[in-house]
Point group: C2
DNA sequence: TTACGTTTTAAACAATCGTTTTCCAGCAGG
DNA sequence: CCTGCTGGAAAACGATTGTTTAAAACGTAA
């Protein structure tokens, strides 16, 4: 199928350009010219630029959610009702995140896209991701709840997002940070090296003592 | 001066729209029409859209750096050579961040702009901020170094950026998160409430145990 | 008043955007 | 044969972008 070739060439080029410059700053002409396909091909195969953006995300998130669900299945049977330790949960998530993009382009692109999805409002994107892939996060959050029964629900909610922020923010802006680190310390860090450094920080953050309540705590 | 009125009305409108939609998604016509000034006023008073973006940042970052330098001066004389505790440093930074926008619009706008500066590449912006306001961060990092002498330099560098990511990511995407939290727990969190929750997490993250080294650690 | 520098205004600029239309090439089954 | 369908190519669509131009309005000093 020559059609598939055009589609994947568009997707491969689009994901890189989106990750580099963002959605609004990347025109369809940028994509199609670099991908060596006709301009109209995007609207022909995807329908619109919005749909192309969603397709780029789906190509990462579909295999990710599938594998992550499988991983959680496996964990739940292995621990058979017993709460799964927080470290195991986080480690499993990190491993799944690392696995998926290995087959495709790079983890950098994947993380950068996640960061854009969060910050670059784009209305439709956040809704699409929430609706399409929200279930796996809900499931993960429920397992984290069982792993940290001492945490008030609202406190755990916020800490999960704090940690999500740490990881996505770091890996999303990795290129810029890597440049600074390299010129400051002359050391080049790999993504896996970074995740190794992230783990104890994330675990410590989740297990931090509860904030003292100044007036009254709603938790 | 009627000129100042136009300038500030442009800035006030621009910062809100930039924070809401991003830079590329906000046109000069959006700004000028909402600000009820002529379209050409932007190019007349600021020169270009890029310059307007930088001016928006400068209006927050100039007073911030000035106050933060003053705060650090005060801390250094109070502790007279002794290392300033990490909690004090973080607390001082948080207080300064909270102080500055109180006079103007809202903390939300300030944080959202910082998030955009990080993620929305915009080449010129990152360079501008780094070059214009890098010194105060360098000074802060040096004080953090003295406060955490047991940390390897590279480890501290990364953890500082981890924590920066946590705070900026959280407060930058606050609106979206707040919506989710509100519908999940029915509880409305204020920014100060969030910072109260952030503090123990950040401190714990900075003081986390060092990662075990799998092969060899360069730090 | 006249004159001058500053600010505002309306209009147009060229460039780029996402999308649509039109036409053509290739290949299937009747 | 030609009919129908799919994918690609070129061109044009109208809309919107940041920026510039030129003239009008303003306030102030001579």
């Amino acid at each position: 199928m020559a059609q598939t070739d055009t589609v994947t060439r568009i997707l491969n080029t689009a994901e890189v350009l989106f990750a580099e410059r963002g959605f609004a700053e990347t025109s369809l002409r940028n994509i199609t010219s670099k991908a060596k396909v006709n301009l109209a091909a995007v609207n022909y195969h995807f329908g619109s630029k919005k749909a192309l953006i969603q397709a780029v995300f789906a190509r990462y998130l579909d295999p990710f959610t599938e594998r992550f669900h499988a991983t959680l299945d496996e964990l739940e049977t292995r621990y058979g009702g017993q709460p799964i330790p927080l470290e195991v949960l986080l480690e499993s998530m990190a491993r799944t995140v690392l696995e998926v993009p290995a087959e495709r382009n790079s983890l950098k692109v994947f993380m950068r896209l996640l960061g854009l999805a969060y910050t670059q409002a784009q209305g439709h994107l956040r809704g699409y991701i929430q609706q399409q892939y929200g279930s796996v996060f809900t499931r993960f959050a429920e397992l984290v709840r069982k792993a940290t029964p001492e945490l008030p629900d609202s406190e755990r909610f916020w800490r999960l997002h704090f940690m999500l922020g740490t990881v996505i923010f770091t890996l999303s802006g990795l290129d810029a940070l890597r440049d600074i680190a390299e010129q400051d310390y002359g050391e080049h860090v790999s993504v896996r090296e970074l995740i190794r450094r992230l783990r104890p920080v994330v675990v410590a953050g989740m297990n931090a003592p509860l904030p003292e309540d100044p007036h009254a705590m709603a938790g």
